[in-house]
Symmetry: C3
Subunit: 461 residues, 3 copies
């Protein structure tokens, strides 16, 4: 007991102190798990159940009574039953009058019912104080004590005191209550545990699609073409060479796609002469997933960096280096340092490093705890100024990489451009339009529009 | 004054405004530091002290009176005296009736007293409203204003209004109050500042022990063996070569140890046919430190990555490369590209990169601010699905690294296997058992058990 | 509607539910944006305006009335007008009596007015309950729904219930209210959005200055000197070689500057014999920006790592490697492995890797969400113990890098030392003084002083 860790302690604070009695309606899995936990934290628990014969699944320190009797013993009643059985509570309305009812229910899918379960409960029992809580916690985690995940419990309800009572229980169980306001927020709270990265879906599918396209494009040009026309089998390019061509291309395109909707928005506002009309739906959605697009771009850029840095460890690279040196020796000549090449290779690497550095900075500032510590002006500075600088550096990195071969016909296999050329289209377009937009003659009206001015007030009717 | 920074501002918000009077009992170090700070933040401070002769240590804007007189001047009294002197407060019970008493005391070691200091105070003075606060703040940090660390002040107490008053003072001093609920939480709050990474102790000692073992194992095989039998002095391997053998081995084993307790838990549940019995104590503890094990594994993996990437900068590696090329030249033959080697080296590197990438993702999602922003379903997806994928990739990376030499007898010095072979035991075992566990015939009963079903209800009695 | 994402949901929770009526005084940009958002979130909005003729800029579901009429319709009135027009509210004092007035105003620069706008409003209308809120949110972000930045809304006010009402509105709009205490905090809240990284200014300018100095120093020694005396054009060193000399130097110096003020503070306290006198102003400021100095040092160190790791990819490095091997071949001799060099290069790299590793650990623990989860003792352990260890490792890394050439005269071009020698001055000084300070005969009085003891009590008068 002496070596209790902070974690265990937080989960089972002190069993010596006796707290008040809490009633739980329903002896299902979550009701039992919650009861176990509450008894551990010093609460007396009384279950309300149809059959009062004591089941051996129920924690042995808990009492089991009929619903009405159990409810009379406590000021707080946790409703651990499913929404479709809420109707059986209506006959108990008198007993439950003035009591705090904690709705912990979840639905199986989004939009299953027109109103939230907690609001439904509040309508059935208008004399009780309904509080929504605990639905975001997993029964399994509660029981096993392995709460590595979020310890936040969203709590909402119309009665401030009832909410405080429930938040005290939440804290006593070692969890962190988060006040989400009135019971109107219950719908949002009930939808929360049903989501699986909703904002990430579109960016991830887009990246997967583009990645697949570029991957097969490269396989065709670098492996199949070489095999057919040069009779070289470079199939092992699949492991590193081609991923390291696709990753930077994806990173650059996705980074440009982060800034493209802002460009569209500016053009639409300039055209309409007002900011008071909604953007088209696709643009709204696009703007909302910019952060996700940027983070995926950062992931691709990081992979590109590591793939590049392992180059000297590759068997193929070592063989190629050796071959180059040996051919110099056998020809009995030492090549002098090519200054143009030295400049190109060094500046291409330096541009890439600086671009990646800014990119990582952007990623760090998008961490929730960091972005909560910067104000709006600082956030705009980082995400807009530094973001565009990163885009400029990365585009320049790609341009210098292309270097001399850019337009040489020999680089076009099957008359198709190399993918780094394809990757330059979107970022160059973004940078050119952005460059036009910061001209004073265009920037001034845009700034006015964004401050609320309207070119043609009738338009907004 | 015009260039006041956000930090200074937060620490000494505005000295122009006058706030209410606060009384401090005790003129020790923390009492003085707190008084200084409060005066800076606009409060009037009156000290209650046995000797009312003004000490020059006390902030000069503060008044010093006898305890009873001082207490009458303020609604809030901060008790900056040690627990063993609390008894002298009992004669003052009448004066302190209805006042807010702030207990700021800390103990010297965990479990020093049966009940918390704040609860002890509340028992001594049942007519006062005791609030626990400020014990997590260091006097030194308070005074020097260098609060780079957490600005959170845990506050708990039974009286909501008293707690609000104390939280307002906390905010006025530029700190962030965190409501920890009723006074029952005082014990946890008092234990908090005494801890030094309690959850990290076991994982760190385990890693240090394993690291030492593998390090000396490698020294024996790679340096001593080579010195004795091949008469080569490779003692400089201690700096990079051997650490770079130990790090990946540690990373792989620790990552497997993150998933091993889950496997044990599943087997125990299947065997018992119920989830309602507690796991053995060692398993509980193990499950609670999985996050720490995973993060240490990530640290080892990161070191492995950097150690590997600096290879081309090593004097030894450059010498070896040169030697290889020169021997080819002197033999007057150019070796063709070995396609098998190219495939092996590239896929081994690619597997490692992808495994490390997923590993870093897992690390990022375990940052508190990120894990607070994902729900239970999302957390499980990342930590379970992606975690196993990372384990598979890293195990495959090690298997391919072994490649052809795996079972060749020449690789066994002193009949001992290379350490990467040892490192494969735990992860392979975890992956094989996990593979068995996801078979429908085993997964189905396990899922039922975890949803609360019992095979043999009598067992749980 | 079925695919509503968490983000959109949070921003426009549920339009089906009707909430209470809110009045907005002023139809400027922010007033309109807030009104739009509130209507979307289910509130009825009534505008109070001088001219009640309906402007088409105002959300079409909102009502527009005269100020007095509008105020009577709601319990909460949002004052979306500028401070200089607050006077016109005084005739409405009777109507506004008992109402909650939400001050959302911002100033154009810090310290524009002696007291905060919200306190000014409270003085003008003593019968109303003034709450400061929403001033940290951008109208543009509110309207476009692209709240990637902080969703925190600072709320402060003297009336707890009024504050609760405003916080409920904040939550209903999908934002996170942060209670900043009483209205005295309004000044801080109003200053917050005007800041642009105030704590970062000095560290950034210092780094830029030092970087420029070292950059030109290196250009002189490595490019100009070589060009003049050796007739070699190494101008391409500007891209990678020289940045990679400046970055580690900057990282080491800035890391030492993090620990230097602590050394000064200890010496000052030892000299004065007390901790109860303020440090000089420059030292206070320096101590407050240590975290920022450390993070900039980490940025330089990271750049140094990446710049170093790309070395094998550089055209110049490949050329130099080839040249070395070819010269060996042409001289027909194979150099044996130089063990001293192998030791030096490996230990130099290993020291650097471990130092950087600890450095990154320090960076991670300074993330707000991580530092909030460690107590004061743990934070001190990491930042002080591990920090000094990192400084020792990085200094040793630089010393070993210098190695044999350290004092060889040929390394001094134009009698100037190489910059890595310059970079060693501050860290070595810090480490030597720190080493002296931990001697028991000095550490003991220092510890006593920091615990509140005074050598010469009269001094502090």
């Amino acid at each position: 007991m002496n070596k209790k860790s902070s974690n265990t302690m937080a989960l089972a604070p002190n069993t010596s102190n006796k707290r008040e009695t809490v009633c739980i309606f329903g002896t299902g899995d979550f009701g039992r798990a919650l009861g176990h936990k509450m008894i551990q934290s010093g609460y007396s628990v009384v279950y309300g159940s149809r059959s009062t014969q004591i089941s051996n699944l129920i924690p042995k320190d808990a009492e089991v009574l009929g619903h009405a009797e159990a409810a009379q013993k406590a000021a707080i009643i946790i409703i651990a039953i499913q929404r479709q059985h809420y109707n059986f509570l209506t006959p108990l309305a008198e007993v439950l009058h003035g009591k705090v009812l904690v709705d912990i229910s979840n639905n199986l899918k989004l939009k299953q019912y027109p109103e939230s379960n907690a609001e439904h409960l509040a309508q059935l029992l208008p004399g009780s104080k309904v509080v929504k809580a605990f639905n975001t916690v997993s029964a399994w985690a509660l029981q096993s004590g392995t709460l590595d995940a979020s310890r936040q419990v969203f709590v909402c309800g119309d009665d401030v005191e009832a909410k405080q009572m429930v938040m005290n229980i939440v804290r006593a169980l070692g969890l962190t209550p988060v006040d989400k306001g009135s019971l109107l927020a219950a719908q949002e709270v009930e939808n929360y545990p049903l989501q699986l990265f909703p904002m990430w879906k579109f960016p991830i599918f887009l990246s997967l699609g583009l990645t697949a396209f570029f991957f097969f494009y490269c396989v065709a040009l670098d492996i199949i073409y070489t095999y057919i026309y040069e009779n070289n089998n470079f199939s092992f390019f699949i492991a590193i060479t081609i991923p390291n061509r696709v990753c930077p291309v994806m990173a650059l395109i996705l980074l440009a796609l982060v800034y493209l909707p802002g460009i569209f928005a500016a053009i639409i506002q300039l055209y309409r002469g007002t900011k008071y009309r909604r953007f088209p739906d696709w643009l709204d959605k696009w703007m909302l997933c910019r952060k996700q697009l940027g983070l995926i771009a950062l992931a691709f850029a990081s992979l590109h960096v590591v793939f590049t840095l392992v180059t000297p460890m590759r068997s193929f690279a070592r063989w190629r280096t050796g071959k180059g040196i040996i051919s110099q020796v056998l020809n009995n000549k030492t090549e002098p340092l090519d200054h143009t090449n030295a400049w190109l290779s060094d500046s291409y690497l330096a541009l890439g490093i600086l671009g990646f550095f800014l990119f990582v900075l952007l990623g760090i500032t998008s961490l929730p705890s960091v972005s909560n510590n910067v104000n709006w002006r600082e956030f705009r500075f980082v995400q807009s100024k530094l973001g565009y600088l990163a885009l400029i550096l990365c585009t320049a990195h790609t341009l210098v990489y292309g270097g001399k071969w850019f337009l040489s016909p020999s680089a076009y296999k099957w008359y198709l451009p190399n993918i780094y050329i394809l990757s330059l289209i979107v970022p160059c377009a973004v940078l050119v339009v952005k460059f036009v937009l910061i001209f004073p003659c265009i920037d001034k009206p845009l700034t006015q529009i964004r401050q609320g001015w309207e070119r043609n007030p009738k338009y907004s009717k």
